[in-house]
């Protein structure tokens, strides 16, 4: 038997996976609000498992550096199999400068940015190494709102079974 091939995604496949509807309950904001982790001093974070309508397994994580609260990340991980995971999206806060090696562009330090898996960066073995500067959010709270309004999430109304889009929801 040959070695297991790592999953490679084309741009169209990435888009389809991101658009795959992902139901979350109305408690998603409180579920994802970072809280101190007993075993990891100065780290705040949460995890949320999501099963998409298409049957795919995802995990959403939030992670905040308690010492540098602008240093946060909200990510979407997809599990193609039990032994493999791919981080598709990471909405990050302030970090050091981020050079996009292929495009030869630089995102300046202390700028919110979004890492996206891309076909071209997978080809060079660094699937998450591309990032785009963003003004869609400016702190963790607005980043969480942005994250859940994109990437296929919808609210499963537990009371009525209706599916409500999250796009226009405001952060309380």
């Amino acid at each position: 038997m040959g070695a297991r091939m790592a999953t490679f995604l084309t741009e169209a496949e990435i888009k389809a996976i991101l658009d795959d509807p992902k139901p979350v309950t109305k408690r998603y904001r409180s579920v994802m609000a970072p809280r101190p982790r007993k075993d990891r001093p100065n780290q705040l974070g949460r995890r949320l498992n999501v099963r998409s309508v298409g049957g795919k397994t995802f995990k959403v994580y939030t992670s905040v550096n308690a010492r540098l609260t602008n240093n946060f990340s909200i990510g979407l991980i997809w599990y193609p199999s039990a032994h493999e995971k791919l981080t598709l999206i990471r909405c990050n806060g302030w970090h050091e400068a981020h050079p996009n090696r292929i495009e030869r562009t630089i995102i300046q330090p202390d700028t919110c940015h979004i890492h996206r898996i891309t076909e071209r960066y997978q080809l060079v073995g660094k699937p998450e190494a591309y990032a785009e500067e963003t003004t869609e959010y400016h702190d963790f709270k607005t980043a969480l709102q942005y994250f859940f309004s994109k990437f296929g999430f919808f609210l499963r109304d537990d009371d009525y079974g209706h599916e409500l889009p999250l796009i226009d929801k405001q952060v309380p």
């Binding site: 990891r40 001093p41 780290q43 994580y61 540098l68 050079p99």
Partner: protein
């Protein structure tokens, strides 16, 4: 012989690639080296009393967390400790720090950057499979015990603060009893088996009253030489964790009454 102008030019260009951003209480040092996700590696110089230290202010653990990895958990811990030791770093409440002398700053900055890259790379390396399996097993045992025993009757990772302040003889789960406590051990490996045996023997010598319970992940997978001594000491054993029903029934019937 290389032209001195070229040498000076390289020196100044390399120095210029290290970005220094001072703030009120620290200096951020940005390097052109990047992590696997493309973010540049940066850290801070901080004055701690009389001493200068380089610190990541928790960034390495946060980056490891993106990979769902705790570098301090078994499976990564040994390699993590070796890297810290090798680079002369230490962990301080969730941040990694390195003491630095003012006249050794250049070398320290490169060492700290290299260590940061290696530590984040380590977080992407799968944990040792055996240790991961052991961690999973222990988590399952913990979940089962916690689901059945009220929190006010349960001590996890208990040790006797007076007799054993150095935690040489830990007990996985101590369940308070009226006449004697129940000591429950989750046993997945030979090492764990021997540690549980040593703990029980130690307290037996001290004439401590307790009733031992061994929950094996699978006793058949462990050498008899390791399991036999523990089997002799404990009052009850479960040879395979798959028998959740039997373990739960025992814990419910016997332990929750104490």
């Amino acid at each position: 012989m290389m032209d001195k102008n070229i040498i000076d030019s390289i020196r100044s260009q390399v120095a210029a690639d290290i970005r220094l951003s001072p703030t009120a209480d620290r200096l951020r040092i940005g390097t052109p080296l990047t992590f696997d996700d493309g973010d540049a590696c940066s850290f801070f110089l901080i004055q701690q009393g009389e001493q200068l230290v380089l610190s990541d202010l928790g960034d390495i653990f946060t980056r490891a967390d993106y990979q769902e990895t705790d570098l301090r958990a078994s499976g990564h811990r040994a390699r993590f400790d070796r890297l810290l030791d090798f680079y002369g770093m230490r962990e301080d409440s969730g941040q990694l720090v390195m003491a630095v002398a003012p006249d050794k700053m250049g070398g320290a900055i490169f060492s700290f950057a290299q260590a940061s890259l290696e530590l984040v790379r380590l977080a992407r390396t799968p944990a040792d499979r055996k240790k991961r399996a052991e961690r999973k097993f222990r988590a399952k045992v913990g979940k089962l015990v916690r689901s059945l025993i009220p929190a006010n009757k349960l001590d996890e990772n208990w040790y006797d603060r007076e007799e054993d302040p150095n935690k040489y003889y830990p007990v996985d789960y101590r369940i308070h009893g009226t006449t004697a406590d129940w000591w429950v051990f989750g046993v997945g490996t030979s090492t764990k088996c021997l540690k549980a045996t040593v703990t029980c023997q130690h307290y037996r010598l001290l004439k401590r009253k307790f009733r031992g319970v061994a929950i094996y992940k699978n006793e058949d997978e462990l050498p008899k030489s390791a399991t036999a001594p523990l089997d002799e000491i404990v009052e009850r054993k479960f040879t395979r964790f798959g028998d959740d029903g039997a373990i739960a029934a025992f814990l419910e019937n016997e332990l929750s009454r104490t």
